[in-house]
Amino acid sequence: MDNDKIDQIVDNHGCEASSLIQILLDIQSENHWLSKEALEKVSKSLQVPLTRIRHIATFYKAFSLVPKGRHEIHICVGTACHVRGATRVLDTVQDLTGIRPGETDLDLKFSLETVNCLGCCALGPVMEVDGKTHGKMAPSKAAGVLRNYE
């Protein structure tokens, strides 16, 4: 991510330190992760110490300090999905991809995350890949969905 883009995002939020979280969110959604350079740049522009920025970047779940894979898998483990068998889906996806929640595989193909509720409880268990929701999942069905991604 280049510096101009970061400058632009900082400017959009009026260069205010209280907008720090909003700025980091925008960088995250643009770049899919927060690089060390990006954080340093934000620190300089906002005159906020890097330690505070890292505190925030590690506190909130939305931020990632490592690059993400080409496809982001989110498995809903909200209560409604849990009682409908989300754990079994998660186990299967872990076996298939070889990664655990929070990890990215070595080929940068998949990143796996669990989320606490996607609010599609009628469709549970739910798996989201690159923003597309796949509902009424079962272990065998999840395997079928993942096969479509390269």
């Binding site: 209280s18 979280i21 931020f63 186990d91 606490n116 609010g119 409880c121 509902g135």
Partner: protein
């Protein structure tokens, strides 16, 4: 559009909108909430628009994308006005027929209508379907009829009339008195009387005050706030502005989870429109009252739903709570008086102003007035959002509206109040929903999640699940929550894995007491609730796990095994083909056997086995029977004996 400068101009403008609308013109409304979107509503609306064009009906039919209708189980949903014909689970391939049959020929399409499971009759209108019939949709009702991106739609149903009433004819004391008289209690969890909260801020000496919408809906399995924000954002803005007027605030915030992109988008649009029309900004409706609203996206932290943590996050810092020696309505955001209410609470305010506190208090029980939106999810036939008057028995919500448990299973418990709540067992199903009633049963109202569990749900696992959730979400500031929950999780995990020992329950109780007494914020204080309430009503399940290493619900993976009953197996290869671990051995006409070493206990075979055979069994607390010897595994089919 130029600004509206007085209540009279607003009425004039409203009439001009209404005069342009023909109530007899066909209008297809389609639910575009997140849940219907996930089940394909975007494709449906695209094909509706295309088909209308193709059949040359552009001038005769309006299409409107609305917010969530609530009946998410049957999405995507369309309602055709003015007849109010309701079609469910629409796919793009149904669209040409809907346009040519229902719109042009006025004929019903039977297969898309709702079938009453009791009588097997087809139901045409939304209001006659049991799911809707027993509800009282005061707050949520407009969701299905207006386009959340259109301020005209909101004005057409009487929007901003309450704001006009307040700004033109009521003093701030009168507004406050009306809200106090309505006995409105916070819908976000605590149930604190909104009027008292407002009064505290109003009377605080500090000049600058804030009003905040808490839309950090983090409870898993609860999504009513999202549906309101997505579907009717102006009602929340109107309520917030009225609240600001009552306490003398000129700046408001909406704290909304970034996981709700559609809600963020719709709120932004609503604010922009409201500013354009003069419902927000300087000199609102010519009254001299100024008020602006800003949106803050939450970056994913459950604890930020807690009032003090949310305000810390708004300041741009890590969202950690602080002790509440001084309440946040006196010293909140940037140490100034701040009124924080939940989305649903704010959405109730315009109703109270429009129709009066006396009208509002006719709904509900002594201690809890009005209605409450619940998200009815889990093992329930009609998943969705339901709004019922306070005081409705749980049994009515689950059976009359929810349609009971699917698949002929037995009801076990309903979990209310999210991770801070508890489980209510079958013997208490006649309990009336209300803040105090649920607290007495060891659970709580919370924000309104209602997760139904059937006989297949293990209560020890549910308790482990919530403690795991809270351990993950604990901000780490105070020891009882950070360390206590971690230990509770360890013990509970051991129990579900068959490593539980005598004394575990007592130790868990001790840890619970410490967290309840000594944790800093509501998250920690209420964290033991899921454990304590399941222990109170389902102690036998805990004991079975610890003493017999048995999971009565046959759900805990470490305590169960899958086994194929050789007497029932028809060697049909169904399970064998589907097993992702290739753990099933056998063949055509050869009884299948599960290799316990390879089995990952994913349950695929259990689901794959045709119900008429029912050969795959889950067993717990007993050893797996040894496989039948090789020579006895050949099935000789009768038809082939001839």
């Amino acid at each position: 559009m130029s600004q509206i400068n007085s209540p009279a101009e607003l009425e004039e403008f409203r009439q001009s909108i209404l005069s342009k609308r023909d109530p007899d013109k066909h209008c297809i409304t389609l639910c575009s909430g997140s849940a219907c979107h996930a089940s394909g509503s975007a494709e449906v609306i695209a094909s509706i628009e295309e088909e209308i064009k193709k059949q040359g009906l552009g001038a005769e039919v309006d299409v409107r994308r609305t917010g969530c209708h609530g009946f998410c189980e049957r999405g995507p949903i369309i309602v055709i006005h003015p007849e109010e014909i309701c079609y469910f689970q629409i796919e793009p391939k149904d669209v040409p027929e809907i346009i040519s049959q229902t719109i042009k020929e006025k004929k019903l399409i039977e297969r898309l209508l709702y079938t009453d499971p009791g009588t097997n009759k087809k139901i045409i209108h939304e209001s006659e379907i049991p799911f809707y019939k027993y509800q009282k949709r005061l707050v949520f009702g407009s969701n299905g009829s207006i386009d959340p991106k259109s301020i005209e739609d909101y004005l057409a149903i009487g929007g901003y009339a309450a704001l006009a009433k307040v700004l033109s004819g009521m003093t701030s004391e009168q507004v406050l008195d009306e809200v106090k008289k309505s006995k409105l209690r916070g819908r976000g969890g605590g149930g604190f009387p909104a009027g008292s909260k407002w009064e505290g801020s109003r009377n605080a000496p500090e000049k600058i005050k804030y009003v905040i919408v808490n839309a950090d809906e983090g409870d898993p399995g609860a999504y009513m706030d999202r549906a309101l924000l997505e579907g009717n954002p102006h009602s929340i803005l109107e309520g917030l502005t009225i609240g600001a007027y009552a306490i003398g605030s000129h700046e408001g915030y909406i704290y909304v989870r970034q996981e709700y992109p559609l809600a963020v988008e719709n709120v932004h649009i609503a604010i922009k429109k409201a500013e354009e029309y003069g419902f927000l900004g300087k000199n609102i409706l010519g009254s001299g009252f100024d008020f602006i609203v800003k949106v803050h996206r939450g970056a994913g932290a459950f604890v930020c739903g807690e009032s003090t943590a949310l305000m810390t996050a708004l300041e741009g810092r890590a969202g950690e709570p602080r002790p509440k020696y001084i309440r946040s309505n006196i010293k909140g955001l940037w140490d100034r008086p701040s009124v924080l209410n939940n989305v649903e609470t704010w959405a109730n305010v315009p109703l109270i102003i429009n129709k009066g506190a006396d009208w509002f208090t006719q709904f509900g029980t002594e201690g809890s007035k009005g209605t409450k939106i619940f998200s009815l999810v889990g093992k329930i036939t009609n998943t969705g959002l339901v709004e019922v008057p306070m005081g409705m028995p749980l049994r009515d919500i689950i059976y009359k509206i929810g349609g009971g448990i699917p698949g002929g299973k037995k009801f076990k418990a309903v979990q209310t109040g999210g991770p801070s709540g508890g489980c209510v067992p079958e013997e208490l199903l006649d309990l009336q929903v209300g803040f105090d009633e649920l607290t007495m049963a060891g659970s709580m109202m919370g924000s309104g999640g209602m997760i139904v569990m059937d006989e297949d749900t293990c209560m020890v696992d549910v308790s482990r699940y919530f403690i795991h959730f809270l351990t993950d979400e604990s901000c780490g500031k105070c020891v009882p929550c950070r360390e206590g929950l971690r230990q509770m999780l360890r013990i509970l995990t051991n129990i579900t894995e068959g490593k539980g020992k005598e004394g575990d329950i007592e130790l868990l109780e001790e840890l619970s007491e410490t967290a309840r007494e000594a944790a800093l914020c509501a998250l920690g204080k209420s964290a033991p609730n899921p454990f304590l309430s399941t222990l109170r009503y389902f102690r036998d399940e805990y004991e079975a796990h610890i003493r017999e290493k048995r999971c009565p619900a046959l759900s805990c993976k470490e305590l169960i095994a899958f086994h194929i009953d050789p007497a029932k197996c028809q060697a049909c290869m169904m399970c064998l083909k589907k097993c992702p671990a290739e753990a099933i051995v056998g063949g055509k006409n050869k009884i299948h056997v599960i290799d316990q070493e390879k089995c990952t206990k994913c349950g695929t075979c259990f689901e794959a086995c045709p119900p008429r055979f029912g050969a795959v069994k889950k067993i717990s607390g007993e050893p797996v029977p040894s496989p039948v010897p090789e020579e006895e595994r050949i099935i000789i089919r009768k038809s082939k004996e001839k």
